[in-house]
Structures are given as C-alpha cells and as structure tokens.
C-alpha cells in the first residue's frame, strides 16, 4: 500500500493534491464533476477585505503550453466568503486553505483577523503577488523587506498556520524565501504566475484588457521546479509546489524537487477531473519509481 498522506502545519492531508487558488473558485462548480471530499485539501480563491470586481475583460489568453490571466482578484470579500462559501465546503471534511490578498498591510491584517472568527479554515495562503498601493505599487512579493513585514504582521494575528505564496518574478527566490522563513512563516507555496503579455495582431493591442497577465500552465513548470529545488536547499519549512502540474508524473517531479504537497491550477480548465485523476494515478507512479510513500519522495533529487 502506497501511503499518500502528508502531515504539514495545520494540514493533515490524506493525499498531497489540492486545487490551486483562483483556478477552482470555491469548489461548487467542480463538485458537479466529482465529490470534493476526494481532494487532499482545497485552496479557495483569493479573499480581500472588501468585495472586488476585478479587471476589465478579456481576462485570459492562451499561450504555448500555458495561459495568461488577469482576473484582478475578483471576489465577494472575506465576510461573504465566510457567510456563503465556507459553509458549502465544510461538509466535505477536507482541510480548507484561505488565500488572502490585499493592497495594504492593513487589508491583509483585516482579512486574517476576520478569518480568525471561523474555525473552518486550516491554514492561510498569503498571496503576496499584489501591488502595495502605499509603496508605489511594487508587489509585496518582489521585495524581501516588504514580504517579511507582511508575513510578520499576519503571523502575529493568525490563529492558523500561514503559508506564504512566492512570486517567481524575482531575481533571487532564495532571498525571498529565507526572508519569509525568518519572518515566521509556517510554510511556502510556490510558484505564483510569471508576468507575461500577448499582443492581438488585428487590433495591435494586448489581448488582455489589463495588458499584462500571469503566465501559468506547463510552460512554467521548469521554472517552478528550479525555484523549489533552490529554495529547498535553503529553507526548512514545508513547500506546497505548483506550476504546470498536469499528471501524477509531474507531481512526483515536484516532490523530488522538494515540495511536500502540490496544487493543481490551470489543468482544471483543460480537464475538470484533473485532480481526482492525478490522485488515482499517483500510487502507480510512485510505485513505478520505487517509492512507498509521498513523504519518501519529497526532496528525493537532493539526496546522494
């Protein structure tokens, strides 16, 4: 029997597969295709302090082995999420991870404080790929000092473990990761999307109304693997890996690079059954490559 379970701060996972934030809404839609209780956990769409309506459309574009998105954090706000979305998810008895976004440190704090009111959340995923409106719009996740501060502030109030989600759009991912570990984060989640653009030839304008969008999908997998591999050599907190996962083989590649668990984003759009199919395939793939458990595979590329 291959053991798929993983135990991370706040997260007792029966398997290491969870849908990535923003690619799965709050789960309702995919529950039409399969029973969500099959998942290792669920990462909800970003929650902000107030309702956000997001960017203009078009918000997505297709690229070679990937896609761009600029949804703009559209969400009903943390209060409505607690009121309407979390109650839908709790009956599935899987850990719920709340992805938290904000434009100011105060907004992050407000969202986390509000989430403290429910005990249905097992962990927070801190989305720091958001522009800090008080600091000229530079993203929290692109400056180690800012990332450290927001992590510390959130850690100080959150009553659940905090996983900080790294932006890959940086010169030095290890510097970011260690700053965040030093700030007390319980884990890392990586990677978020790479900033990209596509130009629509007939109109001569960017396809995406926001001009730039985040690149996700198999195209970015080599970058995710490299960053996880590098970070794994310098930090001790667990890593939830993501970026282009489509198959159980991809999951194993992430585990070997140093991920403890993984999230599946864009693949849900191609195949709504991506997560359960990967969960079903994973034991066979682990066995094929002589692993008895997920835990045994984690970090395998660093041994010997």
């Amino acid at each position: 029997m291959i053991d798929l379970s993983v135990s991370l701060p706040g997260l007792e996972l029966k398997n290491p597969i969870m849908p990535a934030s923003g690619c799965f809404g709050f789960g309702r839609e995919y529950n039409q295709f399969y029973d969500l209780s099959k998942l290792g956990a669920i990462i909800m769409k970003a929650a902000t302090g107030e309702e956000r309506f997001g960017n203009e459309t078009p918000r997505v574009a297709e690229t070679a082995a990937g896609m761009l998105n600029a949804i703009g954090l559209q969400n009903p706000g943390v209060d409505k999420i607690i009121e309407n979305e979390i109650p839908f998810l709790t009956p599935f008895s899987i850990p719920i991870i709340a992805n938290v976004a904000g434009s100011t440190i105060e907004e992050y704090e407000k969202v986390v404080a509000t989430l403290n009111q429910t005990n249905a959340i097992s962990a927070i995923e801190l989305n720091i790929s958001c522009p800090n409106v008080k600091e000229g719009g530079i993203q929290f996740g692109m400056d180690p000092a800012m990332a450290k501060t927001v992590t510390e502030k959130v850690k100080a109030i959150s009553n659940v473990p905090v996983y900080v989600k790294l932006s890959p759009n940086v010169s030095n991912i290890v510097e970011m990761a260690t700053a965040i570990e030093d700030a007390g984060a319980d884990g890392l989640s990586m990677i978020n999307t790479l900033t990209g653009m596509q130009i629509h030839l007939p109109s001569r304008k960017p396809v995406i109304a926001n001009k730039t969008g985040g690149l996700s999908g198999p195209a970015i997998k080599p970058i995710a693997i490299r960053m996880i591999y590098e970070v794994r050599q310098h930090v001790n907190i667990p890593i939830i890996g993501m970026g282009g996962i489509q198959s159980a083989e991809d999951v194993l590649e992430f585990l070997l690079a140093g991920a403890d668990a993984v999230a599946v984003g864009t693949a849900n759009f191609q195949n709504p059954l991506a997560c359960p199919e990967i969960i079903d395939d994973l034991p066979t793939v682990l066995e094929k490559y002589q692993f008895q458990s997920v835990r045994e595979a984690t970090g395998g590329a660093h041994h010997g």
Partner: protein, 252 residues
C-alpha cells in the same frame, strides 16, 4: 447538468467560406441541450477549451450539430479531425434562452451576427415548435460567409445583411431593424458591438442577448468571463449564468 462527455464526430461539412457544420454523437448532450447552451471543447495541443454554441440536436439520433468558423489554431485543428474521432467536451454548458413565458402566436425577432447565428437557429427550431411567429435578421461579412439562408427562410421571414453588400442589404443588422414587422420580444447573438447596437436600438422591448467572451474554465470557477450587471451582485459569469442575459440586466 454539465458533464464531461466524449462526442464522436459523425460528419463535417463545409457550409460557407471558412465555415463548417459538424455533427457529434452523444446521448447525454443531445438529450439535455437547450437553445443558447454551448459545448466547451478540448482541442489537443491547446491549453484552453473552445466554446461553441449548439446549433441543433436530434434527440432520436443522439446527435448535436455545431457550426463554426475557422479563425485560429483551435478551430483549424478541430476541422481536420477525421470522422469517428471522439471529442472531449464539457456540456451542455451555460443557461439557454428563456422561452417559457412566450404565449403561442407571439411574434419574435431573432438577430444573429456571424458566429452568433448558430444558436439562433437552434432557438428558432424550438420556438417554431411552440407556434411562435419568427422573423430573422442575419448579418454576415459577405455572401461567401453566409450559411443556412434557406433553413431560416423555412422558419420565418429572413433578412440578410452583409458588411460589404455582396448579398442582401449592405450594412449592420441594426440598419434594418426598423424595416421588420412588429414583434413582442427579441433574441440576439453576435459580437459585443452588435449586441450593444441592438440593445440601444430596441430600448423598450423585452430582449435577450447571448454573449461571446474569452473563457478559461467554462464552468464558472475562474471568473474570466464576467459581465457587469445591474443587480445587487454586480456581475454575472457568461459561461455559467449566461451566455444569455436579459438585455436590461447587463451593463454593456
């Protein structure tokens, strides 16, 4: 309910320049589809599925017909599949045109533009069965791109408009709205600028618009395809709440 289904290609026929009619076999989809719904079709080698409206169903033969134009690499890949290939499809997707509260004998105007014509055809065949009187305004780039003219004529009065005047009237569908007989309600499907023009031209008439937008998931999970609305929520998702909306519900 939307499901992931395999649909077998039964036939592919060219019906106009760059335009194809494809018949797909699958019992679940053909049984449950209503006019206005679409199929979200996976195209191997492409990250995103392609949304294509349902243009007709045959519940006996378990077939669903789609009509599409080859405009890019997804549709170009789709059209070269061999008969017998199984397509990976999510469907029936979205909500259809509301037709319940139409009384027999009511008169309806249907306005389709380009790749917005296919769902209008499915709707028309269903309305006809209910004894509704139909008029059509159909817009195409040019005569070469025109299709299904005779089929529409057999269902009701049909005015064709082409951008270049190569067939029918020259201009936009809205240029001829004034020429048609009075109607109780309208339904329209086409590119956003056309829908805007139609809505502005027919401000006080009950109308339903079917939208196109670039989609991610196609099931309501990713928020790629929202449209602002007048209601309390402030937006709707085209793939899940639409693609059809009441004209007075959405902000264009």
């Amino acid at each position: 309910m939307i499901k992931k289904e395999w649909m077998k290609i039964v036939s592919v026929d060219k019906i106009a320049k760059d335009s194809y009619e494809m018949m797909l076999e699958n019992e679940y989809i053909s049984t449950h589809a209503v006019p206005g719904q679409f199929l979200h079709i996976a195209v191997p080698g492409h990250t995103l599925r392609r949304p294509i409206s349902i243009a007709a169903v045959d519940k006996q033969a378990h077939t669903t017909t789609i009509l599409f134009k080859t405009v890019g690499s997804g549709t170009e890949t789709l059209v070269i599949y061999e008969i017998g290939t199984e397509l990976d499809v999510l469907g029936p997707a979205g909500k259809g045109f509301p037709v319940e509260n139409l009384h027999e004998g009511a008169s309806v105007l249907l306005i389709g533009g380009g790749i917005g014509v296919p769902p209008i055809y499915f709707l028309a065949t269903e309305l006809k069965k209910r004894g509704i009187t139909l008029q059509f305004i159909l817009g195409f780039q040019s005569q070469a791109y025109m299709f299904y003219e005779k089929k529409f004529q057999s269902l009701g009065e049909t005015v064709i408009v082409t951008d270049d005047g190569s067939y029918g009237e020259k201009g936009f569908v809205t240029d001829v709205i004034g020429h048609v007989a009075p109607f109780d309600r309208y339904y329209s499907c086409g590119p956003l600028p056309m829908l805007k023009a139609v809505k502005n031209k027919l401000p006080h008439i009950e109308g339903y618009l079917s939208f196109e937008e670039r989609m991610g998931c196609g099931v309501g999970a990713c928020f790629a395809c929202v449209v602002p609305t007048n209601d309390q929520k402030g937006y709707k998702k085209i793939c899940q709440d639409g693609p059809v909306f009441a004209a007075d519900e959405v902000i264009l």
